[in-house]
C-alpha cells in the first residue's frame, strides 16, 4: 500500500513545507540575524546589550512574566469549568457554547477598548458601583501609580478574551474520553470531584498540554490589551519591540526583543512537554 503511494505524500506536503520555510523560518532567521547586528550592520552583541541596558527592559520583562503567571492558571480553571458545563449536556447546552465562544470573534484591540469603557474613570464599573452605593468617588483603575491594579485589570480583560480557545480544546478532549471509564467510576461509587481528579484530568492530559503550550506562547505576546487599558503605564516585551521598531527606528533592538519573546516561548514549551508527559495508552 505504501509502496503504491510513492512520492505523492511528499508532494502533497511540499506546499505546506514551502509556506512554513518562506513565511516562518526565513523571517525568523532574519530576525535573529538582525538581533545580533548593530545599527551599522556589524555583528556583535551591541543591540542585545542595548536592550538589556534599556531603562524599561526590567519592567517589561517582569510585567510580561507576571501577566503570564497570573493569567494562565485563572484561564485554565475557568476553561475547565466551562468545558465541563458544555460536556454535561445540560438543557440549552447549545446556547452555552455560543455564549462562551463569543470573545473568539473579537480582535485583541477591540476587546481592550471594550474593557477600557468599563474601567475608565467615568466608565461602566465606576458608574455601577457608585449607583448601588458601594463607592462614593470613582476609583482610577487605570492609574500608573498602582501597577498591580493595572495588571489586575489586564488579567481580567485577557481572561475574558482568550479563555474560549482553551475551552474549545478542552471540550474536544473531554468528548474523546471513552464513556466506559466514567461509567466504571460510577460503578465504583466515585463522587463527581473524584471522577474529575482521577479519570477526567489524567485522560485530558494531551489536550491540557496542547492548550497550555498554545496559550502560554500567545500570552508572552500580549500587546494590544495592555496598550488599550494601561497606555504607557505598563511596559510589556511586545510593546517595547514595537516602540523600538517604529518610534525609535532601531530594528536591531526590536529584533532582540522579539528574539527574547521567542526564547521565553520555547523555554515554556519545553517545560510543559517535560512536566506533562502524555502516556501511550491515552492516545489510543
Amino acid at each position: 500500500m505504501t509502496a503504491r503511494l510513492g512520492w505523492a505524500p511528499y508532494a502533497l506536503l511540499l506546499p505546506s513545507v514551502l509556506f512554513l520555510a518562506l513565511f516562518f523560518a526565513t523571517p525568523m532567521v532574519q530576525a535573529f540575524t538582525l538581533a545580533f547586528q548593530g545599527p551599522d550592520g556589524s555583528f556583535g552583541l551591541a543591540s542585545i546589550e542595548r536592550m538589556l541596558g534599556d531603562a524599561s527592559f526590567r519592567d517589561a520583562l517582569l510585567t510580561t512574566i507576571a501577566l503570564v503567571v497570573l493569567v494562565i492558571p485563572i484561564q485554565f480553571a475557568l476553561a475547565m469549568s466551562m468545558a465541563l458545563v458544555i460536556n454535561a449536556q445540560l438543557k440549552g447546552q447549545g446556547m452555552w457554547l455560543y455564549v462562551y465562544a463569543l470573545p473568539l470573534g473579537i480582535s485583541e484591540l477591540a476587546a481592550g477598548i471594550v474593557w477600557v469603557s468599563i474601567f475608565t474613570q467615568s466608565g461602566w464599573l465606576n458608574s455601577v458601583l457608585m449607583g448601588i452605593g458601594i463607592l462614593e468617588r470613582p476609583i482610577t483603575w487605570q492609574s500608573a501609580e498602582t501597577p498591580w491594579l493595572l495588571i489586575g485589570i489586564v488579567v481580567i480583560a485577557e481572561a475574558w478574551r482568550a479563555t474560549s480557545i482553551i475551552m474549545i480544546i478542552l471540550v474536544a478532549g473531554l468528548q474523546s474520553i471513552p464513556r466506559e471509564f466514567l461509567e466504571a467510576a460510577d460503578v465504583y461509587g466515585a463522587t463527581t470531584w473524584q471522577k474529575v481528579r482521577r479519570v477526567v484530568l489524567p485522560m485530558l492530559r494531551p489536550s491540557l498540554q496542547v492548550a497550555l503550550i498554545l496559550r502560554t506562547i500567545l500570552a508572552f505576546q500580549v500587546f494590544a490589551t495592555v496598550i488599550a487599558l494601561a497606555g504607557s503605564g505598563l511596559d510589556v516585551l511586545a510593546d517595547e519591540a514595537q516602540r523600538w521598531a517604529t518610534d525609535i527606528d532601531n530594528d536591531n533592538v526590536a529584533a532582540a526583543y522579539a528574539g527574547l519573546i521567542l526564547i521565553l516561548s520555547l523555554v515554556s514549551t519545553v517545560l510543559f512537554l517535560v512536566l506533562l508527559p502524555t502516556r501511550e495508552e491515552h492516545q489510543a
Partner: protein
C-alpha cells in the same frame, strides 16, 4: 475499478483547480493597498493622474477621514492620502529616493523633517508654485523657512498649529487668589491643581502621557524653554533639575490615568480632567461640543518667558515624484483660501496665508484667541520643533519620555537621571549631525547637549 479511476481523475482535477486558484490569488497585483507605497511592483493607477500624498501630519484615523471627506473633497483629481508615523514616514521617502522612483507624489511634513530631506537633496524646487501663489500672502517667515537655507523653494508652508491649554469652567473658582487664567505662571498652575484637590479630593490636572500622547513636545517646547531658556544645551542644568522637581510635585495633582490619555479632549469632555495641555487639533472637539463649559487659554509662563512651540507643516515634492504636475496642483489647491478655511474648521490647523478667517464656531474662536494671545505675549518665547534629526526623531523624543518615566512616574532623582540620559541624547546628535535649533544658540556642526 472504473468508478475508482473516474473518482481519482475528478479528485486530481479538483486539487489542480484549487492550486491554480491559490497561485493566481497569491500573485495577483494588490493595487489598492492603502499606506503601502513601497513600489514593489504594485503600480496600479499611477499614470492615470492619481496623486499619492504621504504625510506625517493628520495621522490619527479621525483626522485622515476629515482630510479625505472634507478638506480634499473639492479637489479635481484623485488623491490617496497616507498618514504615517515618524519612522515609516522617513523610511518610505528615503526608500523611494534610493530606488529612484516610486509611488509618492507629494510629501506633507514638518519643517524639521524637510530639513533632513533637503540636506539629502530629495526635494524639487517649487519656486514656480510660490510665484503662482504670491497673491495669497503666504507668511513670509514660513516661506523663508521653506528655502531651508538655500535659494530654492524646497517646501511650501501648508498649515500651522501649536499647543494650548483648556479648562472646564467649573475649575475656575479654584484659581489661586489674584491669578488671571489668561496670564498664569507654571507655579500658579500647580497651586490651582492643589486647590482643586484640597476642595474636591480629586486630581484634575491632565497631560497627554499615553502611548499616542504628545507629552514629549511639552518638554521640548514648553517646560524646558520656559524654565531654562534652552532645551538641548540646558538639558542637565540646575534650572532643568528645578523644572523636573516642579513637574514631579505638580504630578500629585494630575489625574494618574494620564498615562492612558492620547487626546485630552475626551477626558475633558467626560470630566475626568478639568485643566489640560494639548495640541490644538486634540482639544478642538471638547471646545466645539461644549463651548459653554470648556474654555481655551494661553499656556502659563515660566522664569524665562512664555515658551510655546509653533508647529509649521509644509508641502514638498520629491525629485522622484510619480506625478509632479499633479502634486503642484494639489499644493495650489491646499493653499487656496477655501481649503485653508476648511482645514481650520475640520482639523483645527491654522492657515498660513493672509486671509480673513472664516466664521467659525465659538470653540474654534476660543482656540484662535488663545493661540494669538500666546503669539503676541510680551514674554513670548518660540521654541521650534527639532530640525534635521532625520530618522533619529523618535529616539530624541524617547530620551525625554524616559526622563519623565524615571523622575515623575518612578520618583527618581532628576540630577542622576538627567546625567544618565545625557549620553543617549548626545548619541542622537552624533548620529544625525543636526546642529542646535532655537531657543538653543546655533552651533557649528552637531549640537552638543549639556
Amino acid at each position: 475499478m472504473r468508478t475508482n479511476e473516474r473518482l481519482h481523475r475528478w479528485r486530481l482535477l479538483a486539487v489542480t483547480a484549487v492550486m491554480a486558484l491559490v497561485l493566481a490569488a497569491c500573485t495577483a497585483d494588490d493595487g489598492a493597498s492603502p499606506g503601502d507605497g513601497n513600489g514593489d511592483g504594485a503600480s496600479a493607477g499611477d499614470g492615470g493622474g492619481e496623486i499619492v500624498m504621504v504625510s506625517s501630519q493628520l495621522v490619527p484615523t479621525a483626522e485622515q477621514e476629515l482630510m479625505n471627506n472634507e478638506i480634499l473633497a473639492n479637489f479635481e483629481g484623485e488623491v490617496e492620502f497616507v498618514g504615517l508615523d515618524a519612522g515609516p514616514f522617513n523610511d518610505q521617502i528615503q526608500a523611494q529616493e534610493q530606488a529612484g522612483e516610486g509611488e509618492i507624489s507629494l510629501i506633507g511634513g514638518l519643517d524639521g523633517e524637510f530639513s533632513s530631506f533637503g540636506a539629502d537633496g530629495l526635494l524639487m524646487d517649487l519656486s514656480d508654485v510660490a510665484e503662482d501663489l504670491a497673491d495669497l500672502g503666504i507668511n513670509e517667515t514660513y516661506l523663508e523657512f521653506g528655502k531651508l537655507g538655500t535659494d530654492q523653494q524646497l517646501y511650501i508652508p501648508w498649515m500651522q498649529a501649536t499647543y494650548v491649554m483648556a479648562a472646564r469652567t467649573e475649575a475656575l473658582e479654584y484659581l489661586p487668589d489674584g491669578a488671571d487664567v489668561n496670564d498664569l505662571t507654571w507655579e500658579q498652575l500647580t497651586e490651582w491643581g492643589a486647590n482643586i484637590e484640597a476642595e474636591t479630593g480629586e486630581r484634575r490636572l491632565g497631560f497627554p502621557a499615553g502611548e499616542d500622547g504628545l507629552l514629549h513636545r511639552f518638554f521640548q517646547g514648553y517646560s524646558y524653554p520656559a524654565f531654562t531658556g534652552g532645551v538641548n544645551t540646558t538639558f542637565t542644568s540646575p534650572e532643568a533639575v528645578e523644572m523636573w522637581n516642579w513637574l514631579a510635585d505638580t504630578w500629585e495633582y494630575v489625574n494618574p490615568a494620564s498615562t492612558t490619555y492620547g487626546f485630552m479632549q475626551e477626558p475633558l469632555q467626560s470630566g475626568e480632567v478639568w485643566v489640560a495641555w494639548d495640541h490644538t487639533a486634540r482639544l478642538i472637539q471638547a471646545l466645539e461640543t461644549m463651548p459653554d463649559e470648556i474654555i481655551a487659554f494661553p499656556v502659563p509662563s515660566g522664569p524665562e518667558g512664555k515658551a510655546y512651540m509653533p508647529v509649521v507643516a509644509g508641502l514638498g515634492v520629491p525629485t522622484t515624484s510619480a506625478n509632479p504636475e499633479g502634486a503642484k496642483d494639489l499644493i495650489r489647491y491646499l493653499l487656496s483660501p477655501e481649503t485653508q478655511a476648511a482645514t481650520l474648521s475640520a482639523v483645527s490647523f491654522f492657515p498660513v496665508i493672509e486671509s480673513d478667517l472664516p466664521d467659525v464656531g465659538p470653540g474654534l474662536q476660543a482656540e484662535i484667541d488663545a493661540v494669538e494671545a500666546q503669539l503676541n505675549a510680551a514674554d513670548a518665547l518660540p521654541a521650534y520643533l527639532p530640525v534635521g534629526l532625520g530618522d533619529q526623531g523618535g529616539a530624541y523624543s524617547q530620551v525625554f519620555r524616559d526622563v519623565f518615566q524615571g523622575v515623575v512616574l518612578d520618583g527618581g532623582d532628576p540630577a542622576t537621571i538627567l546625567e544618565e540620559q545625557l549620553p543617549n541624547l548626545q548619541a542622537v546628535f552624533e548620529a544625525s549631525g543636526a546642529p542646535c535649533w532655537p531657543p538653543d544658540p546655533e552651533s557649528d556642526g552637531a549640537c552638543q547637549a549639556q
